[in-house]
Amino acid sequence: MIEFEKVTFVHQSGVKALQDVNLRIRKGEMVSIVGENGAGKTTLVKHIIGLLKPTEGRVNVFGKDTRDASTAQLSRMVGVAFQNPDHQLFCETVEEEIAFGLKNFGFSPDVIEKRINWALGFFGLEKYRKNPPITLSGGEKKRLTLACILAWDPEVIILDEPTVGQDAIQKEKLSEIVRMLNSMGKTVVIVSHDIEFLWPMQPRVVVMSSGKIVADGEASSVMNDSYLLEKARVTQPQLIRLYNSMKRKPQRPFRDVFDAERHIMEALSVRTG
Protein backbone atom coordinates (compact mmCIF):
# COMPACT_ATOMS: atom_id res chain seq x y z
CA MET A 1 0.00 0.00 0.00
CA ILE A 2 2.95 2.29 0.77
CA GLU A 3 5.99 1.35 -1.24
CA PHE A 4 9.44 2.89 -1.37
CA GLU A 5 11.56 1.59 -4.22
CA LYS A 6 15.25 2.46 -4.14
CA VAL A 7 14.48 5.95 -2.90
CA THR A 8 17.25 8.50 -2.57
CA PHE A 9 16.58 12.05 -1.52
CA VAL A 10 19.06 14.94 -1.58
CA HIS A 11 18.12 18.24 0.08
CA GLN A 12 18.87 21.49 -1.77
CA SER A 13 21.74 22.03 0.66
CA GLY A 14 23.32 18.82 -0.69
CA VAL A 15 22.56 16.70 2.38
CA LYS A 16 21.64 13.16 1.39
CA ALA A 17 18.76 12.44 3.74
CA LEU A 18 17.59 9.14 2.24
CA GLN A 19 19.80 6.60 0.56
CA ASP A 20 18.51 3.66 -1.41
CA VAL A 21 15.49 3.11 0.81
CA ASN A 22 13.28 0.10 0.15
CA LEU A 23 10.22 -0.22 2.34
CA ARG A 24 6.80 -1.80 1.99
CA ILE A 25 4.03 -1.06 4.46
CA ARG A 26 0.88 -3.19 4.10
CA LYS A 27 -2.67 -2.31 5.02
CA GLY A 28 -3.44 -2.74 8.71
CA GLU A 29 0.17 -2.84 9.86
CA MET A 30 1.55 -1.01 12.87
CA VAL A 31 5.03 0.18 12.03
CA SER A 32 7.40 2.19 14.18
CA ILE A 33 10.41 4.05 12.85
CA VAL A 34 13.35 4.68 15.16
CA GLY A 35 16.89 5.97 14.71
CA GLU A 36 19.31 8.77 15.53
CA ASN A 37 18.65 12.50 15.18
CA GLY A 38 19.03 13.33 11.52
CA ALA A 39 18.63 9.70 10.40
CA GLY A 40 15.98 10.67 7.84
CA LYS A 41 12.77 9.63 9.62
CA THR A 42 10.84 12.86 9.07
CA THR A 43 12.15 13.07 5.52
CA LEU A 44 10.75 9.59 4.88
CA VAL A 45 7.36 10.55 6.32
CA LYS A 46 7.22 13.65 4.13
CA HIS A 47 7.62 11.42 1.10
CA ILE A 48 4.50 9.44 1.99
CA ILE A 49 2.21 12.44 1.54
CA GLY A 50 4.21 13.87 -1.33
CA LEU A 51 5.55 16.91 0.51
CA LEU A 52 8.92 15.76 -0.77
CA LYS A 53 9.47 13.82 -4.00
CA PRO A 54 12.32 11.36 -4.40
CA THR A 55 15.47 12.53 -6.15
CA GLU A 56 15.87 8.96 -7.39
CA GLY A 57 13.56 5.96 -7.14
CA ARG A 58 9.82 5.79 -6.62
CA VAL A 59 7.27 6.16 -3.84
CA ASN A 60 3.88 4.52 -4.40
CA VAL A 61 0.93 5.23 -2.15
CA PHE A 62 -2.34 3.39 -2.79
CA GLY A 63 -1.00 2.36 -6.17
CA LYS A 64 -0.20 5.89 -7.23
CA ASP A 65 3.26 7.32 -7.84
CA THR A 66 3.52 10.36 -5.51
CA ARG A 67 5.01 12.32 -8.39
CA ASP A 68 1.62 12.10 -10.12
CA ALA A 69 -0.49 12.90 -7.08
CA SER A 70 -0.99 16.15 -5.20
CA THR A 71 -0.47 16.39 -1.45
CA ALA A 72 -4.16 17.33 -1.19
CA GLN A 73 -5.18 14.05 -2.86
CA LEU A 74 -2.84 11.99 -0.70
CA SER A 75 -4.00 13.72 2.50
CA ARG A 76 -7.49 12.31 2.06
CA MET A 77 -6.11 8.87 2.78
CA VAL A 78 -3.07 9.66 4.87
CA GLY A 79 -3.16 11.86 7.98
CA VAL A 80 0.15 13.08 9.34
CA ALA A 81 0.70 14.74 12.71
CA PHE A 82 4.08 16.41 12.28
CA GLN A 83 6.86 16.61 14.80
CA ASN A 84 6.58 20.35 15.45
CA PRO A 85 2.96 21.39 16.15
CA ASP A 86 3.72 25.06 15.50
CA HIS A 87 4.04 24.24 11.80
CA GLN A 88 0.57 22.76 11.67
CA LEU A 89 -1.63 25.05 13.77
CA PHE A 90 -2.93 28.23 12.20
CA CYS A 91 -6.62 28.78 13.10
CA GLU A 92 -8.04 31.33 15.53
CA THR A 93 -9.49 28.83 17.98
CA VAL A 94 -8.91 25.23 18.99
CA GLU A 95 -12.36 24.25 17.75
CA GLU A 96 -11.84 25.80 14.31
CA GLU A 97 -8.52 24.03 14.06
CA ILE A 98 -10.23 20.64 14.33
CA ALA A 99 -13.11 21.73 12.09
CA PHE A 100 -10.74 22.88 9.35
CA GLY A 101 -9.82 19.46 7.95
CA LEU A 102 -13.34 18.13 8.42
CA LYS A 103 -14.83 21.01 6.42
CA ASN A 104 -12.24 20.54 3.71
CA PHE A 105 -13.21 16.93 3.32
CA GLY A 106 -16.87 17.85 3.05
CA PHE A 107 -18.31 16.41 6.25
CA SER A 108 -21.76 17.66 7.24
CA PRO A 109 -22.10 20.22 10.05
CA ASP A 110 -23.60 17.79 12.54
CA VAL A 111 -20.90 15.19 11.90
CA ILE A 112 -18.31 17.93 12.31
CA GLU A 113 -19.86 18.96 15.62
CA LYS A 114 -19.84 15.35 16.88
CA ARG A 115 -16.26 14.72 15.83
CA ILE A 116 -15.05 17.95 17.44
CA ASN A 117 -16.73 17.02 20.70
CA TRP A 118 -15.20 13.56 20.63
CA ALA A 119 -11.69 14.84 19.85
CA LEU A 120 -11.76 17.61 22.47
CA GLY A 121 -13.03 15.19 25.09
CA PHE A 122 -10.60 12.42 24.29
CA PHE A 123 -7.54 14.66 24.35
CA GLY A 124 -8.61 16.68 27.40
CA LEU A 125 -8.93 19.95 25.52
CA GLU A 126 -12.62 20.89 26.13
CA LYS A 127 -11.72 23.78 28.36
CA TYR A 128 -9.71 25.40 25.57
CA ARG A 129 -12.42 25.07 22.88
CA LYS A 130 -12.57 28.83 22.20
CA ASN A 131 -8.91 29.62 22.99
CA PRO A 132 -6.27 30.40 20.37
CA PRO A 133 -3.97 27.39 19.77
CA ILE A 134 -0.85 29.52 20.33
CA THR A 135 -1.75 29.95 24.01
CA LEU A 136 -1.77 26.21 24.68
CA SER A 137 1.06 24.50 26.51
CA GLY A 138 3.55 22.52 24.41
CA GLY A 139 1.96 19.16 25.19
CA GLU A 140 -1.55 20.50 24.59
CA LYS A 141 -0.54 21.81 21.15
CA LYS A 142 0.82 18.39 20.33
CA ARG A 143 -2.45 16.75 21.38
CA LEU A 144 -4.38 19.24 19.28
CA THR A 145 -2.49 18.17 16.15
CA LEU A 146 -3.27 14.54 17.01
CA ALA A 147 -6.94 15.46 17.57
CA CYS A 148 -7.11 17.17 14.16
CA ILE A 149 -5.85 14.06 12.38
CA LEU A 150 -7.86 11.47 14.27
CA ALA A 151 -11.05 13.53 13.96
CA TRP A 152 -11.29 12.90 10.23
CA ASP A 153 -10.44 9.25 10.48
CA PRO A 154 -7.89 8.70 7.69
CA GLU A 155 -7.00 5.21 6.42
CA VAL A 156 -3.34 5.68 7.25
CA ILE A 157 -2.28 7.50 10.41
CA ILE A 158 1.26 8.80 10.70
CA LEU A 159 2.47 10.27 13.97
CA ASP A 160 5.89 11.95 14.13
CA GLU A 161 7.02 11.97 17.79
CA PRO A 162 3.50 11.89 19.26
CA THR A 163 4.57 11.58 22.92
CA VAL A 164 6.59 14.81 23.13
CA GLY A 165 5.26 16.84 26.06
CA GLN A 166 2.86 14.09 27.19
CA ASP A 167 2.53 12.82 30.74
CA ALA A 168 1.94 9.20 31.74
CA ILE A 169 -1.84 9.40 31.58
CA GLN A 170 -1.89 11.01 28.12
CA LYS A 171 0.64 8.50 26.81
CA GLU A 172 -1.46 5.61 28.05
CA LYS A 173 -4.55 7.02 26.33
CA LEU A 174 -2.62 7.56 23.15
CA SER A 175 -1.31 4.04 23.22
CA GLU A 176 -4.85 2.71 23.71
CA ILE A 177 -6.36 4.61 20.82
CA VAL A 178 -3.51 3.67 18.51
CA ARG A 179 -4.04 -0.01 19.33
CA MET A 180 -7.77 0.33 18.90
CA LEU A 181 -7.51 2.03 15.50
CA ASN A 182 -4.99 -0.55 14.40
CA SER A 183 -7.25 -3.41 15.47
CA MET A 184 -9.99 -1.81 13.34
CA GLY A 185 -7.73 -2.24 10.33
CA LYS A 186 -6.12 1.19 10.13
CA THR A 187 -2.50 1.42 9.15
CA VAL A 188 -0.43 3.22 11.77
CA VAL A 189 3.11 4.55 11.41
CA ILE A 190 4.79 6.02 14.49
CA VAL A 191 8.14 7.79 14.42
CA SER A 192 9.49 8.01 17.93
CA HIS A 193 12.50 8.15 20.21
CA ASP A 194 10.26 7.02 23.05
CA ILE A 195 11.15 3.34 23.18
CA GLU A 196 9.30 2.72 26.44
CA PHE A 197 6.13 3.94 24.72
CA LEU A 198 6.61 1.93 21.52
CA TRP A 199 7.76 -1.38 22.90
CA PRO A 200 4.62 -2.54 24.75
CA MET A 201 2.64 -2.15 21.51
CA GLN A 202 4.98 -4.71 19.91
CA PRO A 203 5.01 -3.02 16.49
CA ARG A 204 7.09 -3.84 13.49
CA VAL A 205 10.28 -1.82 14.01
CA VAL A 206 12.15 -0.11 11.19
CA VAL A 207 15.57 1.18 12.27
CA MET A 208 17.09 4.05 10.31
CA SER A 209 20.63 5.38 10.42
CA SER A 210 22.35 7.91 8.14
CA GLY A 211 19.53 7.87 5.59
CA LYS A 212 19.36 4.08 5.33
CA ILE A 213 17.13 1.40 6.71
CA VAL A 214 19.49 -0.77 8.74
CA ALA A 215 16.99 -3.18 10.24
CA ASP A 216 13.34 -4.08 9.87
CA GLY A 217 11.53 -6.72 11.90
CA GLU A 218 9.35 -7.63 14.85
CA ALA A 219 9.82 -5.63 18.06
CA SER A 220 10.69 -8.81 19.95
CA SER A 221 13.73 -9.50 17.77
CA VAL A 222 14.91 -5.97 16.84
CA MET A 223 14.68 -4.67 20.42
CA ASN A 224 16.81 -7.58 21.58
CA ASP A 225 19.71 -6.66 19.35
CA SER A 226 21.55 -4.13 21.48
CA TYR A 227 24.51 -3.92 19.12
CA LEU A 228 22.33 -2.99 16.16
CA LEU A 229 20.27 -0.51 18.18
CA GLU A 230 23.33 1.21 19.57
CA LYS A 231 24.62 1.90 16.07
CA ALA A 232 21.39 3.81 15.39
CA ARG A 233 21.72 5.49 18.82
CA VAL A 234 18.72 3.72 20.25
CA THR A 235 18.69 2.10 23.68
CA GLN A 236 16.84 -1.02 24.80
CA PRO A 237 13.64 -0.89 26.86
CA GLN A 238 14.30 -1.12 30.60
CA LEU A 239 12.55 -4.46 31.03
CA ILE A 240 14.58 -6.10 28.26
CA ARG A 241 17.75 -4.90 29.96
CA LEU A 242 16.44 -6.33 33.21
CA TYR A 243 15.60 -9.66 31.58
CA ASN A 244 19.02 -9.92 29.99
CA SER A 245 20.68 -9.30 33.36
CA MET A 246 18.96 -12.22 35.08
CA LYS A 247 21.18 -15.19 35.82
CA ARG A 248 18.47 -17.73 35.13
CA LYS A 249 16.20 -16.27 32.52
CA PRO A 250 12.57 -17.26 32.29
CA GLN A 251 11.58 -18.90 29.05
CA ARG A 252 10.04 -15.84 27.46
CA PRO A 253 11.18 -12.19 27.67
CA PHE A 254 8.90 -9.84 29.61
CA ARG A 255 6.14 -7.96 27.88
CA ASP A 256 5.23 -5.70 30.79
CA VAL A 257 5.89 -4.97 34.44
CA PHE A 258 3.35 -7.57 35.62
CA ASP A 259 5.04 -10.23 33.57
CA ALA A 260 8.41 -9.25 35.02
CA GLU A 261 7.06 -9.23 38.57
CA ARG A 262 5.56 -12.69 38.19
CA HIS A 263 8.78 -14.15 36.84
CA ILE A 264 10.89 -12.54 39.53
CA MET A 265 8.61 -13.83 42.27
CA GLU A 266 8.90 -17.30 40.75
CA ALA A 267 12.68 -17.03 40.55
CA LEU A 268 12.79 -15.89 44.19
CA SER A 269 10.68 -18.77 45.40
CA VAL A 270 12.86 -21.25 43.50
CA ARG A 271 15.95 -19.69 45.08
CA THR A 272 14.64 -19.80 48.65
CA GLY A 273 13.15 -23.24 48.08
Binding site: N37, D86, S137, G138, Q166, E196
Partner: protein, 277 residues
Amino acid sequence: MALLEIENLNFRYLDSEREVIQDFSLSMEHGEVLVLAGPSGCGKSTLLRAINGLIPHMYQGEYKGRVVVDGMEVAKSEMRALAQKVGFLFQNPENQIFMFSVERDIAFGLENLGIPRQEIRERVDNAMRLLGITNLAKRAPHELSDGQKQRVALAGVLAMDPKLVILDEPTSLLDPLTARELVYAIGKINKEKGTSFIIVEHRLDLVVTVADRLAVMYEGKKIFDDRPEKVLLECDVEPYGVLVPAVTKLQRQLSRQGIPLPRRLLAPEELPVELGV
Protein backbone atom coordinates in the same frame (compact mmCIF):
# COMPACT_ATOMS: atom_id res chain seq x y z
CA MET B 1 21.84 33.15 50.35
CA ALA B 2 19.69 30.76 48.35
CA LEU B 3 20.12 30.73 44.57
CA LEU B 4 16.39 30.78 43.96
CA GLU B 5 13.55 31.80 46.21
CA ILE B 6 9.95 31.60 45.03
CA GLU B 7 7.52 32.93 47.62
CA ASN B 8 3.77 32.39 47.32
CA LEU B 9 3.68 32.94 43.60
CA ASN B 10 0.33 33.24 41.83
CA PHE B 11 -0.09 33.90 38.15
CA ARG B 12 -2.98 34.10 35.72
CA TYR B 13 -2.54 34.78 31.98
CA LEU B 14 -4.75 37.54 30.61
CA ASP B 15 -7.03 35.11 28.79
CA SER B 16 -6.97 32.14 31.14
CA GLU B 17 -9.91 31.54 33.45
CA ARG B 18 -8.01 30.23 36.41
CA GLU B 19 -4.70 30.90 38.09
CA VAL B 20 -2.11 28.80 36.30
CA ILE B 21 0.32 29.05 39.24
CA GLN B 22 -1.23 28.83 42.70
CA ASP B 23 0.52 29.82 45.89
CA PHE B 24 3.76 28.20 44.76
CA SER B 25 6.83 28.34 46.99
CA LEU B 26 10.21 26.79 46.37
CA SER B 27 13.74 27.41 47.51
CA MET B 28 16.89 26.14 45.85
CA GLU B 29 20.52 26.24 46.96
CA HIS B 30 23.57 26.84 44.77
CA GLY B 31 24.67 23.65 43.04
CA GLU B 32 21.37 21.77 43.29
CA VAL B 33 19.76 19.84 40.44
CA LEU B 34 15.98 19.85 40.59
CA VAL B 35 13.68 17.88 38.31
CA LEU B 36 10.14 19.16 37.89
CA ALA B 37 7.44 16.75 36.73
CA GLY B 38 3.67 16.90 36.40
CA PRO B 39 0.91 16.51 33.85
CA SER B 40 0.81 18.33 30.55
CA GLY B 41 -0.73 21.77 31.12
CA CYS B 42 -0.17 21.88 34.90
CA GLY B 43 1.93 25.03 34.71
CA LYS B 44 5.54 23.84 34.45
CA SER B 45 6.59 26.07 31.55
CA THR B 46 4.72 28.96 33.13
CA LEU B 47 6.70 28.54 36.34
CA LEU B 48 9.94 28.51 34.36
CA ARG B 49 8.93 31.73 32.60
CA ALA B 50 8.45 33.33 36.01
CA ILE B 51 12.03 32.43 36.91
CA ASN B 52 13.75 33.75 33.78
CA GLY B 53 11.63 36.91 33.73
CA LEU B 54 9.48 36.30 30.62
CA ILE B 55 6.76 36.53 33.25
CA PRO B 56 5.96 39.31 34.15
CA HIS B 57 8.11 41.22 31.61
CA MET B 58 6.83 39.68 28.35
CA TYR B 59 3.61 37.91 29.27
CA GLN B 60 0.81 39.98 30.69
CA GLY B 61 -1.36 38.75 33.49
CA GLU B 62 -2.14 38.89 37.17
CA TYR B 63 1.02 38.43 39.23
CA LYS B 64 1.27 38.01 42.99
CA GLY B 65 4.20 36.92 45.13
CA ARG B 66 7.96 37.16 44.71
CA VAL B 67 10.68 35.40 42.73
CA VAL B 68 14.30 36.13 43.63
CA VAL B 69 17.24 34.75 41.62
CA ASP B 70 20.67 35.10 43.20
CA GLY B 71 19.60 38.22 45.07
CA MET B 72 17.77 39.85 42.15
CA GLU B 73 14.00 40.20 42.34
CA VAL B 74 12.77 39.08 38.93
CA ALA B 75 9.80 41.45 38.64
CA LYS B 76 12.06 44.44 39.40
CA SER B 77 15.07 43.48 37.29
CA GLU B 78 15.82 43.91 33.61
CA MET B 79 15.62 40.86 31.37
CA ARG B 80 19.18 41.54 30.20
CA ALA B 81 20.58 41.34 33.71
CA LEU B 82 18.60 38.19 34.44
CA ALA B 83 19.83 36.54 31.26
CA GLN B 84 23.35 36.52 32.64
CA LYS B 85 22.30 34.49 35.64
CA VAL B 86 19.70 32.23 34.09
CA GLY B 87 20.12 30.20 30.89
CA PHE B 88 16.92 28.91 29.35
CA LEU B 89 16.18 26.15 26.89
CA PHE B 90 12.70 26.51 25.41
CA GLN B 91 10.39 23.57 24.91
CA ASN B 92 10.42 24.28 21.17
CA PRO B 93 13.99 24.79 19.90
CA GLU B 94 12.82 26.93 16.99
CA ASN B 95 12.10 29.72 19.45
CA GLN B 96 15.78 30.31 19.94
CA ILE B 97 17.65 29.47 16.76
CA PHE B 98 17.99 32.19 14.19
CA MET B 99 21.52 32.73 12.83
CA PHE B 100 22.97 31.57 9.51
CA SER B 101 25.25 28.91 10.88
CA VAL B 102 25.25 26.64 13.89
CA GLU B 103 28.47 28.05 15.34
CA ARG B 104 27.36 31.66 14.87
CA ASP B 105 24.16 30.78 16.60
CA ILE B 106 25.93 29.35 19.63
CA ALA B 107 28.30 32.36 19.75
CA PHE B 108 25.48 34.90 19.51
CA GLY B 109 24.77 35.31 23.25
CA LEU B 110 28.49 35.48 24.05
CA GLU B 111 29.13 38.23 21.51
CA ASN B 112 26.40 40.27 23.16
CA LEU B 113 28.23 40.04 26.47
CA GLY B 114 31.43 41.46 24.96
CA ILE B 115 33.54 38.39 25.68
CA PRO B 116 36.97 38.23 23.93
CA ARG B 117 37.03 36.40 20.58
CA GLN B 118 39.45 33.71 21.67
CA GLU B 119 37.34 32.80 24.66
CA ILE B 120 34.18 32.75 22.54
CA ARG B 121 35.86 30.31 20.16
CA GLU B 122 36.82 28.01 23.02
CA ARG B 123 33.43 28.09 24.67
CA VAL B 124 31.61 27.43 21.39
CA ASP B 125 33.90 24.54 20.53
CA ASN B 126 33.46 23.04 24.00
CA ALA B 127 29.70 23.30 23.85
CA MET B 128 29.60 21.72 20.39
CA ARG B 129 31.82 18.88 21.52
CA LEU B 130 29.73 18.31 24.63
CA LEU B 131 26.61 17.88 22.51
CA GLY B 132 28.23 16.02 19.62
CA ILE B 133 27.43 18.61 16.96
CA THR B 134 30.93 19.68 15.90
CA ASN B 135 30.22 18.21 12.46
CA LEU B 136 27.22 20.53 12.09
CA ALA B 137 29.20 23.75 12.82
CA LYS B 138 28.84 25.24 9.33
CA ARG B 139 25.31 24.02 8.64
CA ALA B 140 22.30 26.34 8.55
CA PRO B 141 20.23 25.79 11.72
CA HIS B 142 16.85 25.97 9.97
CA GLU B 143 17.90 23.07 7.75
CA LEU B 144 18.52 20.68 10.63
CA SER B 145 16.31 17.91 11.94
CA ASP B 146 14.32 18.79 15.07
CA GLY B 147 16.59 16.85 17.39
CA GLN B 148 19.66 18.52 15.89
CA LYS B 149 18.03 21.92 16.42
CA GLN B 150 17.42 21.09 20.05
CA ARG B 151 21.09 20.26 20.53
CA VAL B 152 22.16 23.55 18.92
CA ALA B 153 19.83 25.54 21.17
CA LEU B 154 21.17 23.73 24.20
CA ALA B 155 24.79 24.36 23.21
CA GLY B 156 23.97 28.09 23.03
CA VAL B 157 22.61 28.00 26.58
CA LEU B 158 25.54 26.04 28.05
CA ALA B 159 28.15 28.23 26.30
CA MET B 160 26.84 31.24 28.27
CA ASP B 161 27.87 29.46 31.47
CA PRO B 162 25.05 30.81 33.68
CA LYS B 163 24.69 30.00 37.38
CA LEU B 164 21.27 28.50 36.84
CA VAL B 165 20.31 26.55 33.73
CA ILE B 166 16.64 25.89 33.08
CA LEU B 167 15.76 23.14 30.63
CA ASP B 168 12.17 22.67 29.45
CA GLU B 169 11.86 19.03 28.32
CA PRO B 170 15.44 18.87 27.02
CA THR B 171 15.45 15.20 26.01
CA SER B 172 12.04 15.07 24.35
CA LEU B 173 13.41 15.37 20.81
CA LEU B 174 16.73 13.63 21.35
CA ASP B 175 17.58 10.11 20.29
CA PRO B 176 18.01 7.84 23.35
CA LEU B 177 21.82 7.74 23.34
CA THR B 178 22.12 11.50 22.90
CA ALA B 179 19.64 11.95 25.73
CA ARG B 180 21.77 9.73 27.94
CA GLU B 181 24.92 11.67 27.01
CA LEU B 182 23.20 14.96 27.70
CA VAL B 183 22.18 13.87 31.19
CA TYR B 184 25.73 12.69 31.80
CA ALA B 185 27.01 16.11 30.66
CA ILE B 186 24.59 17.86 33.02
CA GLY B 187 25.96 15.81 35.90
CA LYS B 188 29.49 16.66 34.90
CA ILE B 189 28.90 20.41 34.53
CA ASN B 190 27.09 20.43 37.86
CA LYS B 191 29.99 18.70 39.65
CA GLU B 192 32.80 20.63 38.00
CA LYS B 193 31.35 24.13 37.95
CA GLY B 194 28.65 23.97 40.57
CA THR B 195 26.05 25.06 38.01
CA SER B 196 22.47 24.54 39.19
CA PHE B 197 19.80 23.01 36.98
CA ILE B 198 16.04 22.96 36.88
CA ILE B 199 14.89 20.31 34.44
CA VAL B 200 11.29 19.77 33.37
CA GLU B 201 10.90 16.19 32.16
CA HIS B 202 8.35 13.45 31.65
CA ARG B 203 10.91 10.73 31.04
CA LEU B 204 12.41 10.33 34.47
CA ASP B 205 14.65 7.25 34.11
CA LEU B 206 17.60 9.27 32.84
CA VAL B 207 17.36 12.57 34.71
CA VAL B 208 16.82 11.13 38.18
CA THR B 209 20.34 9.75 38.06
CA VAL B 210 21.74 13.30 38.40
CA ALA B 211 18.91 14.92 40.38
CA ASP B 212 19.09 15.98 44.03
CA ARG B 213 15.36 16.66 44.14
CA LEU B 214 12.20 15.72 42.33
CA ALA B 215 9.26 18.11 42.57
CA VAL B 216 5.80 17.19 41.30
CA MET B 217 3.37 19.88 40.25
CA TYR B 218 -0.37 19.51 39.71
CA GLU B 219 -2.85 22.18 38.63
CA GLY B 220 -0.45 24.97 39.49
CA LYS B 221 0.44 23.66 42.95
CA LYS B 222 3.43 21.83 44.34
CA ILE B 223 2.43 18.35 45.50
CA PHE B 224 5.75 16.63 46.30
CA ASP B 225 9.30 17.89 46.63
CA ASP B 226 11.91 15.51 48.00
CA ARG B 227 14.80 13.24 47.05
CA PRO B 228 13.92 11.40 43.81
CA GLU B 229 14.07 7.94 45.43
CA LYS B 230 11.71 9.05 48.18
CA VAL B 231 9.17 10.49 45.75
CA LEU B 232 9.26 7.56 43.34
CA LEU B 233 9.45 4.71 45.86
CA GLU B 234 7.36 6.05 48.73
CA CYS B 235 4.75 8.39 47.25
CA ASP B 236 1.82 7.59 45.00
CA VAL B 237 2.67 9.80 42.06
CA GLU B 238 0.73 8.07 39.27
CA PRO B 239 -2.52 10.01 39.87
CA TYR B 240 -0.50 13.14 39.10
CA GLY B 241 0.49 11.90 35.67
CA VAL B 242 4.06 11.07 36.67
CA LEU B 243 5.58 8.29 34.62
CA VAL B 244 7.39 5.96 37.00
CA PRO B 245 10.12 4.15 35.02
CA ALA B 246 9.28 0.45 34.50
CA VAL B 247 12.10 -0.89 36.64
CA THR B 248 11.42 1.59 39.44
CA LYS B 249 7.79 0.53 39.43
CA LEU B 250 8.91 -3.07 39.82
CA GLN B 251 11.35 -2.15 42.58
CA ARG B 252 8.58 -0.31 44.44
CA GLN B 253 6.19 -3.22 44.02
CA LEU B 254 8.70 -5.78 45.28
CA SER B 255 9.65 -3.59 48.27
CA ARG B 256 6.01 -3.22 49.19
CA GLN B 257 5.71 -6.99 49.20
CA GLY B 258 8.38 -7.04 51.89
CA ILE B 259 11.35 -8.09 49.78
CA PRO B 260 14.43 -6.34 51.17
CA LEU B 261 15.89 -3.93 48.60
CA PRO B 262 18.10 -0.83 48.90
CA ARG B 263 16.30 2.51 49.18
CA ARG B 264 18.12 4.01 46.21
CA LEU B 265 16.82 3.81 42.64
CA LEU B 266 18.18 0.68 40.97
CA ALA B 267 19.15 0.45 37.32
CA PRO B 268 17.66 -2.42 35.26
CA GLU B 269 20.98 -4.27 35.48
CA GLU B 270 21.18 -3.85 39.26
CA LEU B 271 17.78 -5.13 40.31
CA PRO B 272 18.39 -8.84 39.49
CA VAL B 273 21.79 -8.65 41.21
CA GLU B 274 20.23 -7.22 44.40
CA LEU B 275 17.59 -9.93 44.30
CA GLY B 276 20.07 -12.68 43.51
CA VAL B 277 18.04 -13.96 40.57
